[in-house]
């Protein structure tokens, strides 16, 4: 298995990234503020507007280090990718399936099964761990609904219907998501998903978590030689890494949602970490984003047992493992794509 390397987050907008030997050098107004060896990194995420030197970008592209640029508010701007890796045969197979709806649906439904299954287990775990603090009857009911939707998804042969079923499942799950916030309930609540812009604290954090996860996923897909922009469930749209969003579906709940809930329930973030703009958009303060990223990095280091591979890996490698399994399925080495089923 691949080794999980570190991610460098640059959160100050006036830092310029440059290359010196095998080191990345961080410059602030021509002053050196940091230097670290690049072989310890697997990706660099820069917030703000100053750039990176072309030499650094070239170096990183050659060595498969992903550089991502985001705005200060965490919106995705650009990603540096080098030459396509892996083999054409695999990518052609991917395009072939993507072009054919009836083939797409066979893969796409496994992403959704993974997603709903994981949501169901988040809910089941809550009823086990906090029976006195949540509405157990309602949670059990939602869990039952999700179980029956999984059976429908399994038999689903049509993409439109699949999206409908996904929406249904999301609606049920969202009802429970708000109740899983157990602490600081005055400042953190979840009614519905809002994005561009996120309108409350919870949505602000979800947006950032999903963006980070989508970047990791896209980088992992590119690393095994797949095209992150050609999806099966999400249709093609310029600038959208559709396949990354597809594979990410199954990780949204267990990776991102649970992460955000932990931040709230362990009181790692509080209401002072957010501010509202005139248009109602809720943003995280710079300090809060640092806390968020630090916690995200720690989560990546946590070890779990991969349910399909049966191997102990860190959370940060889960996107890589799933990308690998997807590539194997497209090559025909596996009969079906095995989604990440968390329990």
């Amino acid at each position: 298995m691949k080794r999980l390397l570190n991610t460098l987050y640059v959160t100050q907008p006036d830092i310029y990234l440059s290359l010196d030997g095998d080191n990345i050098v961080l410059l602030k107004e021509q002053e050196k503020v940091g230097r670290l060896p690049l072989h310890n990194l697997e990706s660099i995420v820069a917030f703000g507007y100053t750039g990176a030197s072309p030499a650094l970008m070239g170096y990183c592209a050659e060595r498969n280090i992903a550089i991502t640029f985001m705005t200060m508010s965490g919106r995705f701007l650009a990603r540096v990718i080098g030459q396509s890796k892996g083999n054409v045969v695999l990518r052609k197979k991917q395009y072939l399936i993507s072009a054919d709806e009836s083939l797409s649906v066979k893969t796409a439904r496994n992403f959704i099964i993974g997603k709903i299954y994981n949501h169901k287990w988040i809910i089941e775990r809550m009823t086990r761990d906090y029976p006195l603090r949540i509405n157990v009857a309602e949670f059990k009911e939602i869990s039952g609904q999700l179980s029956s939707i999984i059976l429908d998804v399994r038999a689903c042969e049509d993409l439109e219907r699949l999206r409908g079923l996904e929406g249904q499942a999301a609606f049920s799950y969202n009802k429970a998501l708000g109740q899983m916030i157990l602490q600081q309930t005055d400042d953190f609540y979840f009614r519905s998903r809002s994005r561009r812009p996120p309108l409350d604290n919870m949505n602000a954090m979800l947006s950032l978590a999903y963006t980070l996860l989508a970047n990791d996923m896209a980088a992992a897909l590119e690393a095994v030689g797949l095209d992150a922009y050609v999806g099966f469930l999400h249709r093609d749209r310029p600038g959208r890494a559709s396949l990354a969003l597809d594979v990410m579906e199954e990780l949204r709940g267990v990776y991102a949602d649970k992460f955000v809930l932990t931040l709230i329930n362990k009181k790692i973030v509080n209401k002072d970490d957010f501010y509202t703009k005139e248009n109602g958009a809720v943003l995280m303060t710079d300090e809060a984003r640092k806390k968020f990223l630090a916690a995200w990095q720690n989560k990546k280091q946590e070890k779990i047992e991969h349910p399909y591979l049966g191997e102990k890996i860190s959370w940060g490698l889960v996107p890589h493992a799933q990308a690998l399994l997807l590539a194997r399925y497209l090559r025909g080495d596996l009969d079906e794509y095995p989604p990440f089923l968390w329990k």
Binding site: T7, T11, I15, L36, P37, H39, N40, L41, L293, Q297
Partner: protein, 96 residues
């Protein structure tokens, strides 16, 4: 794993100073400088082997010396730091 690299390069001659710069540059490519001629490198076995070969090519075995201390993967409780020049934890969250 963490490898501590320390060196002494005899710099009385011009070539000595050249060697010193080359050694420092090489070490810097693999790790971070924690003290004047002390580097901490987080490397895997291949990278470590490479670093060793490259360093051996540069130094003059008659005059200089290099020492490698392998601190393994669980190095975090083996290193204590006091005073100035706090180093970066390359495996912890890297946020600047």
């Amino acid at each position: 794993m963490l490898v501590l690299v320390t060196y002494d390069v005899k710099t009385t001659s011009m070539t000595g100073q050249q060697r010193l710069r080359r050694v420092a540059k090489l070490c810097q490519n693999y790790g971070q400088r924690v003290q004047n001629s002390v580097f901490e490198c987080i490397v895997d076995a291949t990278e470590f082997a490479l670093l060793k070969i490259k360093l051996m090519e540069v130094i003059d075995q008659e005059q200089d010396s290099i020492r490698f201390y392998q601190l393994g993967n669980n190095y975090k409780n083996k290193v204590e730091h006091f005073g100035v020049k706090e180093s970066l934890d390359l495996e912890g969250p890297l946020i600047l």
